[in-house]
């Protein structure tokens, strides 16, 4: 194969990555839009370790080379991820595009990355020398900038096994299919014995990096619904301050209004 390597195991993929200048290729749906004649691709779709969706005691482990179709059809993938996956592009692109590619492409508009932010997922990054598991928020350094090292592959995304069923997700695009998010919002809220034990929100397509402010969400944690109502205005004001949309095709004012409306709707849908 000229200008490419097809790896059939993770070990082989890491060995190639360690000695060759290659671009990891998941589904190709982002890479091929700006196809580069000089590109040397490392094809990962036949690496079994990156194609599985499995669970262990702590996590649902999603292989980075799983396509959105794999996720939609998986019995194990959390509903919040399936719902977002089903709204990505159109069937033919969902059959190719991978979650790993969606994350590593580094866009704040990545619809699956938003879900991984809102659920505080972790990324398992592996090189031939070792591996590290980091929260997804630490992976993103800026628009199209990630902390992925040249010899590293994103192998798995680790999602919590529980606490993701009461979720809220809205993607705002210009059309139903093949839409790039103008604004996207995902959140999880868990109430146990009358108290909010988890509130996790994430805003996509507004900033260089998906906005996930656990410090602000913490204002609601430990409170009853009534107590949360009492601090609702402060909570919304805190988010209004940190949501400063960067310039885009759609006006910043519009995207900010939509973000705040979605945040309000999320609270109201939970009685707050």
């Amino acid at each position: 194969m000229v200008n490419g390597y097809q790896a059939t195991s993770l070990k082989e993929a890491l060995a190639i990555l360690a000695k060759e200048a290659v671009t990891p290729y998941g589904g190709g749906t982002d890479l091929m839009i700006a196809a580069d004649e000089k590109a040397n691709y490392l094809f990962l779709t036949k690496v079994p370790e990156m194609k599985n969706i499995v669970e262990d005691k702590e996590y649902i482990r999603i292989g980075a080379a799983c396509t959105f179709t794999d996720i939609i059809e998986s019995a194990l993938a959390p509903a919040i991820l399936k719902e977002a996956g089903a709204q990505i592009a159109a069937p033919a692109i969902r059959n190719l595009g991978t979650v790993g590619g969606n994350i590593c492409n580094g866009s704040p508009k990545a619809d699956s990355a938003l879900i991984f932010f809102a659920t505080d997922a972790k990324l398992r990054l592996v090189s031939s020398k070792g591996e590290r598991v980091i929260p997804i928020a630490e992976f993103y350094l800026g628009n199209r900038k990630t902390s992925l090292q040249a010899n590293e592959l994103l192998v798995e995304i680790l999602m919590k096994r529980t606490g993701l069923s009461n979720y809220y997700y809205k993607k705002v695009g210009a059309r139903a299919a093949l839409a790039i998010s103008r604004v996207s919002f995902a959140a999880v809220l868990n109430v146990e014995q009358g108290k909010i034990v988890a509130c996790e929100t994430a805003f996509g397509a507004v900033s260089d990096v998906i906005i996930r402010r656990a410090d602000i969400d913490a204002m609601l944690v430990g409170k009853t619904i009534d107590e949360a109502k009492a601090v609702k205005e402060d909570y919304l004001a805190a988010f209004a301050q940190v949501i400063v949309p960067i310039r885009g095709r759609i006006s910043a004012e519009y995207r900010k209004s939509v973000c705040m409306n979605l945040l309000c709707d999320f609270l109201e849908s939970n009685g707050i």
Partner: protein
């Protein structure tokens, strides 16, 4: 060299691994039923079936298909399923300029292969990545429904 199965034949392409499948199908294999509309996954005119799944061939690099099985409209047209779809499309005049039709037919096949009795919403979802600027889609949706009803046992 990249080996794969193309329309039921084992073939070897001389293309580089980073070349677009779309370009290779049209230029090396002269399969011009695979249409090039946008080269960015927006239109679906270049749709082909890769290992049983609809994909945009403009978004696939050749290295990705090593060892895979590929069906284009040229390979599909000899099947009974194609005949049923062609008849249904003709019955309701679902074709006008025809540019989107190779992709649309393969999308129709993938809808019915997965679900022989799709609802209208499922049909619309299944062709949501295939643009048609002539028909307004209704006739195409109707045609797929007709093929599903008439083609009992084919899918």
């Amino acid at each position: 060299m990249i080996k794969f199965t193309l329309n039921s034949q084992e073939v070897i392409s001389l293309a580089k691994a980073n070349e677009r499948l779309l370009d290779v199908l049209r230029n090396e294999f002269s399969l011009t039923g695979v249409k090039c509309g946008c080269k960015e996954g927006e239109c679906g005119a270049c749709s082909v079936i890769l290992d049983g799944r609809l994909v945009n061939s403009c978004l696939v690099a050749m290295g990705h298909i090593e060892g895979s099985t590929l069906v284009t409209i040229e390979g599909y047209r000899g099947t009974d399923r194609f005949a049923a779809l062609a008849k249904a499309y003709a019955a309701v005049s679902a074709v006008q300029c025809g540019f989107c039709i190779p992709g649309m037919i393969l999308a129709s096949e993938c809808i019915l292969a997965q679900n022989p009795n799709p609802t209208e919403a499922e049909i619309r979802e299944g062709i949501s990545g295939n643009l048609c600027r002539c028909t307004g889609y209704n006739a195409i949706v109707e045609a797929i429904g007709i093929a599903a009803k008439g083609g009992q046992g084919l899918w």
